[in-house]
Symmetry: C2
Subunit: 412 residues, 2 copies
Amino acid sequence: MKYSTIVIGDELLIGQVTDTLSGWIARHLSPLGWEALSVKVIADDEHEIFQAVDEAFASTDVVLMTGGLGPTKDDITKATLCRYFGGEMVLNEEVKRNVDAMFAKRGLEMNRLTALQAMVPSSCRVIQNEVGTAPIMWFERDGKVLVSMPGVPRETQTMMERAVIPQLLGHFHSDVDIEYRTLVVIDYAESALAEKLEPFEQQLPSYIHLAYLPEHGVIRLRLTGEHSDGKLINDDMERLTAQLHKLLGKSIIASEDKPLPMIVGERLRQLGLTLSTAESCTGGNVAHVITQIAGSSDYFMGSVVSYSNDVKHRVLGVDTDTSETCGAVSQPVVEQMVSGACRVCGTDCAVATTGVAGPGGGTTEKPVGTVWIAARVGNVVVSKCFHFNGSRAQVIDRATTHALIMLLKLLK
Amino acid sequence: MKYSTIVIGDELLIGQVTDTLSGWIARHLSPLGWEALSVKVIADDEHEIFQAVDEAFASTDVVLMTGGLGPTKDDITKATLCRYFGGEMVLNEEVKRNVDAMFAKRGLEMNRLTALQAMVPSSCRVIQNEVGTAPIMWFERDGKVLVSMPGVPRETQTMMERAVIPQLLGHFHSDVDIEYRTLVVIDYAESALAEKLEPFEQQLPSYIHLAYLPEHGVIRLRLTGEHSDGKLINDDMERLTAQLHKLLGKSIIASEDKPLPMIVGERLRQLGLTLSTAESCTGGNVAHVITQIAGSSDYFMGSVVSYSNDVKHRVLGVDTDTSETCGAVSQPVVEQMVSGACRVCGTDCAVATTGVAGPGGGTTEKPVGTVWIAARVGNVVVSKCFHFNGSRAQVIDRATTHALIMLLKLLK
């Protein structure tokens, strides 16, 4: 089953807010065999909304729409959909009760603008929003369905899982099976991996497709199979995945799509080891990505972000003479930092970073992008100097990823 | 001048990668009066690319296209554009020299797939990619322009600034002036702010538009004006901005669009104060967002991420009895943490967080989303308990934002 997503909001078009909701929807519908044909981001504008819905209905039977449902004046989606599908704006008593209850629970008084939330087009069926005030609206025309949902990610995510996805699955059903397999690969540049896998790709059946999704030193290989015979696809996928494992060996660090910090966390948990970090140029980002994983408190104890030399010395015990002789961005300093983290946080393992994230602070000898990274497991310490390209944010991201890869290799 | 953006990539449609490049482009073209009419994300598929280009050309004279230019088999944009605009694929010597030089610089050998990068449609004019191997292609038809650029953000960002934007401005010129003003506001929920500003909105001239861009306790108010008379717009914008300042007073924390950590950083720099953080549930994210700002090492000294109680006690000096009596998520603990951060990192100010980010770890008394936050400036400590809704990532984000807002209010 194919669908189109329409994302409404001036704030997205001018780049002040990034659309992450369409990606969430895709990740949740893909495993059910629902495929996004396109995602179109448009302004809060009646003409644009009409045109986008026309285009989307021309190529798919389902349109999922997010955004443009707030009570403020710049949000016009509801009235526009009323004109598109016909009918008039009517008070929905159930929505009104829901908005009232929501405000009572939060101890707020309902103001006039929020009261407008209870007005909906008579041409839609309302799905109650159990976690917000903007109602979800289900429209149908000529066998096609449009569902309008809020732009607030949490509300739409919650209500898609509770109501919208089950109702879509009930309304439509597809007879093509789609299966995905994702392998997470390190050690290769994209083009080198593509060259290595060329013979493998050439023998793929026509209904199976291989995609490369590179991101900072980690490449996700995704096999997609589409066929009416589910058993055939499943068998093919097993066989092809086994072939890839044989070809790439230990460079495959996970056999399903999961973030690198989760792969590291699972390995630490398996081995019963604890982790800490000592961060200079990454400024806490390594700790942040590790603690984004639920349950990370089982193995992650803490971090010292030593942005100043004084904190490096006083908290992590980095020798002042070493810092002065070799500079803060150096192998001896990063190795003292990684050992300091283990000692201060009482952990078995640690990673440490010190470098020049930029845009200022670079020298001829140590230009912007120079980062020393160290990892320690037990008494073994490894360290390496990297030269990353890109902006400050990119240097921080890349250093973070490579710190985790270095640790993961040491844990093998 | 209006343009359309087309973003190509299966990985974006299935939600494995988030498109941030179209937002970057919008943020950089907006101040020049260039407005995105739509952003359409589509698959690496010839039919979809043809249709998206047709649709985009139907409503705008400029199409900016990103993605689909890698050397691997799933990237087919170049061949598709060759069929769309006519001509044949030819070897571009200058691109070949560029790819050779790029590989030589990195000490890599060029493989066959990468060599394909030098093949381009004869119907385009090539803009050399100075920071990558995929060439940028400029196509023209019937006075309309399509520019195809890589999906790698750094490459497209660098080359847009160096070449594409200047060439677009040279090729077209618009006679409507567009001006933006953004004010960053705290202390209000979106609907309360909208109600307060209703009289203000009602007297806005028809060519000026107000948008609300809320994000976790911070609302960006954006005024957009469009008129052929640049002086008129400019005067109106000055007058309206002054009115908003009068209406909202100290709730306006910045008069241009900048991230909260930058606003906090500028205030600290003004006052000559230094900052540190002590983080439990935010896991280093407060330090991370502070150090995303270039130059933050001037005022930010470091952080202790005390995920375990042991690190809270040993590094930050949190009293073990207090933790046991009140629990780690409590007012006395967060206040000891914030003072510990100042002491350990030798700073004038600090923020601290301790809470239940979820999804596990909640209790009836302290459910998921309960977060104690403290801020300290000199000898003044304030602390408050928050109850955030949402996923683990959202609780972490919200706690981070509110920690920075609490500090900013104390700095006023």
